[in-house]
Symmetry: C2
Subunit: 831 residues, 2 copies
């Protein structure tokens, strides 16, 4: 079978390697001697290689007496969870081989990195990818040396680890990732190990409920395996210290059918534990097969999916006692149980005896390669968990069939002449994206897809997938659907990540303020993408697309707690290879932007857009041109003369800032027609950075010609204003740049009140211009006073009526002359 | 009884109002007619006032026919959860009154803000605090008008709401806050409403496990009330759509004893539901009393604390059907059920009939004040939930008894002459803080307190509190202790917030990278503090103190996934009134910094500190002086002449940058003694900002005299370098400032490898100086090449041996001459 890492997308039609007979049943029976020996040998070999990675620089097969010189000087890595991960890997290998069951292995306690690397080396995948780490004594030496070593590989499961979609760093997302991988992969089994430490995190605690969102017919199956080894870094775990009956109630309460496998305590023979595990695994896979059969027969009741509770000693098989202190079965086994292996000969011998206890002479042949017993135990080709193509989703990824977004354009006979809700228009296009891509595109959101106004259009094309109880009167809920909504940003993010990393497409729509809930998950995903881009065998996956709406400027319903535009600040700290930020400001620019995002790979695209009615500014042709450049001058809005420099630049990024800047420009045009105003709009925020800092960065020449080098720049920005300074501090014009934005002054207000509170309003922007352009004379002073008066009048109106003053709400670009005439222009000379 | 809001801290000795007979038992029996009528009247009145707040500008008691003019033009707010919150408030009032049970009300679905405001007005607290909202017709009119109105109050529960410690914005933290309030408040009952939408969030899903961390003797009691109204914004909720048996298993699996109250469906008479609720509440409080008694008698087994599942229709009592569409009992009741109340006379009449259905004529007297039946139903004084002093923790807060931190100083005979682990030294002081403050100071951490090296000292003073199973061999675990460890950053943050907001003290120690997990919780807390500071009756509470260790530069064990110094970037977006950021760089500066933090109020203090062995630079006297100024010149490290300006400024913030800057300075001192180098250190990051931006900001004069206006500044910073630019962009010297820091280049490395990877190492800092100081001549070119060579040599050493090169690890300030002699100084002219 060809390696999955060289498969071309075109050659792959199924998302997972086809099972000969999917979800077959096998009568549980004790393993025969050969099968038992195979499982045990694989496990011992993986354990041996794991210990070797943590400790050894040389003498990999202990063919000479172990000395301190063979031991790494700095011992790093995590042993505690590793024997359990290896145990499960070995057992899964058997059932995969017997059932031809395509299986993805997700390891929540992925700090047990050496285990996954060891198993991938044993089944051959590792050497296929990394040819210098071959199956030989020298290859094993290099395998050991590279682990958590300068210039080598990370100590955790990471993009470098074949077979993984799940970084072993931050804890909590194993089940979310697993379900994301299972969606739309009907023949896939995802074995998801949940560490009992990880199980204490919030995201993990709610992710058990994913079983109410998975469809037994069209989706794959997640088999959660809660690994109770009892301890975290320095504490027992909660779930290991509640009565077993209570734990079983918890798992049943989560909707699962739990099966307990416990063993390895007090020196229990692993062979006995193997038998127990093997029978449980067969039982559980048979249950899954039965559920699949019932679903195929039309049963639409939510099944009680099985799960396994595996209770083993932490650090199982390491030296039980070191220097008189219990290590195996305690938190002391979490990292390096023998941290002093070089210090004394006795300690070095203890390490040697530990490694020898796995009987390496039975496991590896003279050349250093795994024995026939071990290679025979591993499945073949793509059925190897380390080689499953779903874990390298880029090889399976098919481009989306995207309807031409131009056909969804809103009509814009002149700037601002029509009103639209940008996200609602986007929804009409997304509905057709869903129709055209019925099995590899999903929309995720924490109960906000309707609020963010992708409805009603998307619900004309699909439903929200929901496998819990349905009641009469439920709307847009169905057993299968393309929209995934659970009130957990963590779940949305985790599901989407799992879905993307296994080769599919999607977006996450969320309230802007609360996307901070997944700041740390974004960090991990951005890091994963950054590293993956540098690994040749990792093929590009679809970008992770955010659609952030209900944004900071429109929180009249929810107030201060819902105001935070800082996700962008967080995002731009990550590698510029990976992050992109867009501020489309009307329906057509949003359509153009999102089409671009859904075509892109290996990025995180943050798109902030409005859902409230607002002016449509650009025709679709203009929008495409503007979005392609990322920023541009609105000639139609400015008053500069061709061939000469303006007196001032009014710039905007974001829908509300764009509206206010244009309104300010209209006031200046009317009241100070001789002032040469340039209006600039930035839709791709990254163009502001230097070329050297971001690939989208404008050249200094472009920047200078757009923003000038010496004229005042008043920049109205959607978010915290200092980000504009941070992005532009190397630019020539920076010393003249004055940024306005959100500054945590919020209270409950009307929209314009909110804008005024942050000095981002049209009137204040005019004041900013007057204050910064020299030599404007007395008339400017009069206009300045009028602007102050207009602000007071607008504030007072909201206090009286609870809504914004008509001269603001009814302002239009076309009617701007009339609107500005509404000013109480005492003393104004309007000639 | 005096109002809690004017109580002086000295006058309060108990943390909560003393109960006459704490946790008494009362035989459950049906309410008599008067009690039943009281509950119902209070509920109807609160519902009436809630509807009034959402809809009415005028005509508050419907004493004239309701017209569109009386209705607000913009209708905002959340009705759906409100009648349930009011129902519980009314019932809790009865048992509080009967049992004199000090009770705090925490409302997870705090978007039901009008309900809490209504009840606080009914029991008199609101008018005591806000005298213009008095108990009169005019006061009621103002009460209605102000709600979610420009210049008024937020639509959610907020700092403005008396009786609350829990913002009603972001969901997920109700139980964490509730337990935080209960710790060390043995007589307090915290009734914590969990919305069934909120219950889907990760943080909430794990916070049920808080019951394994509460002590029945020394802590108060949390009574969780899961309010199943069945719907979120636009979806059913998960927990409302699983079989009841499964839900009961879930709650028992979480360790609770669930009690179900269901009612109000299909027009069921509320009086029947009242009886059901009342009996359950008595039963549950009796259970709690029995648990408390058993604990007092010496029972140390974890009790199965009761909880209540309340199932009612969403929007209960609103118009069932509007325009032919079912509203009550569906997600359509979530916000404003009658969004078109002004549109037609029929709709206005529908609103009028809805309000009239509560029979306001029975509830309010002629003057507009609540009837005697209602005032008699509410408890008195501090027993009113809206007046409980624990919800205004500042009035109860006692200063910590802080041992003199100078007594814990490490000896520093000369700079860098001794080595210390900063956090371990801090631990010795914290141990005594714990000893001196046995009931109002706690340390919170996600299983990292030992890893961050506050151990062993703190465990000589206390234990980790743990009410789950204990086993022989457990260390530092006990039924009561001052350290709270659960592997959930959300829990740590939520518990600490609840603990602080109820008047106590604490800190949260966490790995630096994973503090991003609570970015959004930090946002909400910072917003709470900002608003609270502007509310006269809210007394200052203790600052929220972070201790971030295992920081970005020392992730040799865990690698790239554990590298993120961006929390500081996130923090500085919040109001400068509230946020403080410190980078102590050795043991003595950390002691001095933390003493300051534990004395402060109403801030969020972020302290980033090292846990690995590193040089101690300053004596305690020097440390105090340096930390007091926030930044300073290390005269002993530079080579400038008194009275003349330096040629270059080497600045540092953070422990690793400080080490590298000093090592670079030692190289320059040795090799280019004629170069006048100034060494600056910044421990309080906020001094970099302008005075106008942050109260700690240096004046421009101070900044100029420290950093010069025209000399190159090489700034080695702990985090993302652009933050330094952002903070200093208004400074005169900014154009000459070159910042080095972390830039997402990480792989698994040794510490110095990591530093080199980001060009923050001593050798590269010397290169930066050479590249930026003009006129250094040929010798500089030679030194530059040596520095390049040293970097290559250091890199190669790590590849060979897996640890850092001795010329780096063994470098000391005192021995710097010898160390720099180690350079292979081919051609160097050292005169």
């Amino acid at each position: 079978m060809s390696s999955p890492f060289t498969a071309s997308p075109a050659a792959s039609t199924a998302a997972t390697p086809a099972a000969a007979t999917p979800w077959p049943t096998r009568q549980p029976a004790p393993l025969d001697d050969a099968a038992l020996a195979g499982v045990d040998a694989f496990w011992r070999a993986a354990n041996y290689l794991s210990v070797g990675q943590i400790y050894l620089l040389d003498n990999p097969l202990l063919r000479e007496p172990l000395t301190a010189e063979h031991v790494k000087r700095r011992l790093v890595g995590h042993w505690g969870t590793t024997p359990g991960l290896n145990f499960l890997y070995a057992h899964l290998n058997r059932v995969i081989r017997e059932r031809k069951q395509s299986t993805l292995y997700v390891t929540g306690p992925g700090h047990g990195g050496p285990g996954l690397v060891a198993s991938a080396w044993l089944d051959g995948t590792y050497s296929e990818i990394y040819s210098d780490i071959d199956q030989s004594v020298d290859g094993m030496r290099r395998l050991f040396r590279q682990f958590s070593f300068p210039g080598g590989i990370p100590s955790h499961v990471a993009p470098e680890t074949p077979g993984s979609i799940h970084e072993g760093g931050e804890l909590g997302y194993a089940l979310s990732h697993a379900y994301g991988a299972a969606f739309d992969n009907p023949d896939l089994l995802v074995a998801a190990v949940v560490g009992d430490g990880e199980a204490e995190t919030g995201p993990l605690a709610t992710s058990w409920h994913s079983n109410k969102f998975v469809n037994p017919l069209q989706d794959g199956v997640v088999l959660p395996i809660l690994h109770l080894n009892g301890y975290k870094i320095a504490n027992p775990t909660v779930l290991a210290r509640i009565p077993e009956a209570e734990l079983l109630e918890l798992m049943r309460g989560y909707g699962h059918q739990p099966h307990i496998v416990s063993g390895g305590f007090d020196g229990e023979d692993p062979l006995v534990v193997h038998q127990r595990m093997a029978q449980t695994l067969d039982l559980v896979l048979n249950e899954i097969g039965a559920i699949k059969l019932r679903a195929a027969a039309g049963d639409t009741e939510r099944p009680r999916w099985p799960m396994i509770i595996l209770r083993t000693p932490k650090g199982w098989t390491c030296p039980p006692v070191v220097d008189g202190v219990q290590v195996e079965g305690t938190w002391r086994a979490h990292q390096v149980p023998l941290g002093n292996a070089r210090d004394t000969a006795a300690h070095t011998t203890l390490l040697e005896n530990w490694m020898a206890s796995y009987r390496p002479e039975e496991l590896f042949d003279e050349s250093g390669a795994p024995s026939r017993q071990i290679t025979a135990h591993a499945p073949d080709g793509d059925l190897r968990m380390s080689a499953n193509p779903v874990a390298n989703g880029g090889v399976l990824r098919r481009d989306l069939r995207l309807p031409d977004f131009r056909n969804y354009a809103v009509d814009v006979p002149s700037p601002g002449a029509t009103i639209g809700e940008a996200t609602r228009v986007l929804g009409t296009w997304l509905a057709d994206v869903i129709r055209e891509n019925p099995d590899n595109f999903r929309i995720f959101g924490p109960d906000e897809t309707a609020s963010n106004r992708l409805a009603p259009a998307v619900y004309e094309a699909t439903d929200k997938q929901w496998d819990a109880q349905l009641l009469p009167g439920d709307t847009n809920l169905a057993r299968a659907g393309r929209v995934m909504e659970m009130l957990s940003e963590h779940q949305c993010q985790g599901w989407l990540e799992g879905y993307l990393l296994t080769g599919r497409h999607g977006l996450f729509n969320c309230y802007e303020a609360f996307i901070h809930i997944i700041d740390s998950m974004f960090n991990q995903h951005a890091k994963w993408l950054k590293v993956s881009r540098e690994i040749p065998w990792r093929r590009p996956v679809s970008s992770l697309n955010y659609l952030l709406s209900s944004h900071v400027w429109r929180q009249d319903h929810n107030g201060f707690s819902h105001q935070d535009p800082g996700f962008v600040d967080h995002v731009v700290n990550k590698s510029s290879d990976v992050v992109r930020v867009y501020f489309p400001f009307d329906a057509n620019t949003l359509l153009s932007t999102y089409d671009h995002c859904l075509r892109s790979v290996d990025y995180v695209n943050v798109v902030v857009a409005g859902k409230q009615p607002g002016p449509n500014w650009l025709t679709m042709d203009q929008a495409i041109a503007h979005c392609s450049r990322g920023a541009g001058i609105f000639d139609w809005a400015g008053t500069e003369q061709p061939g000469s420099e303006p007196d001032v630049v009014l710039a905007a990024a974001g829908d509300v800032p764009t509206l206010e800047v244009l309104a300010a420009a209209s006031i200046l045009r009317e009241r100070m027609p001789e002032l040469k105003v340039r209006v600039v709009n930035v839709v791709d925020l990254m163009v502001l950075q230097s070329e050297s800092e971001h690939p989208h960065g404008m050249s200094d020449r472009e920047f200078d010609s757009m923003f000038t080098t010496d004229k005042p720049i008043i920049f109205a920005y959607h978010g915290y204003p200092w980000l504009i300074h941070r992005l532009t501090y190397r630019r020539n014009g920076h010393d003249n740049l004055h940024a306005r934005g959100y500054k945590e002054n919020g209270t409950t207000t009307t929209p314009f009140d909110m804008v005024m509170l942050n000095d981002l309003d049209r009137y204040h922007l005019v004041i900013d211009v007057i204050d910064r352009v020299p030599g404007l004379g007395a008339r400017a002073g009069v206009l300045r006073q009028e602007m102050e008066d207009a602000r007071l009048r607008a504030t007072q109106y909201t206090r009286d009526f609870g809504e914004d003053i008509p001269e603001v709400t009814e302002w239009t670009w076309e009617g701007a002359g009339a609107a500005s005439g509404a000013f109480d222009a005492t003393g104004g000379d309007n000639t």
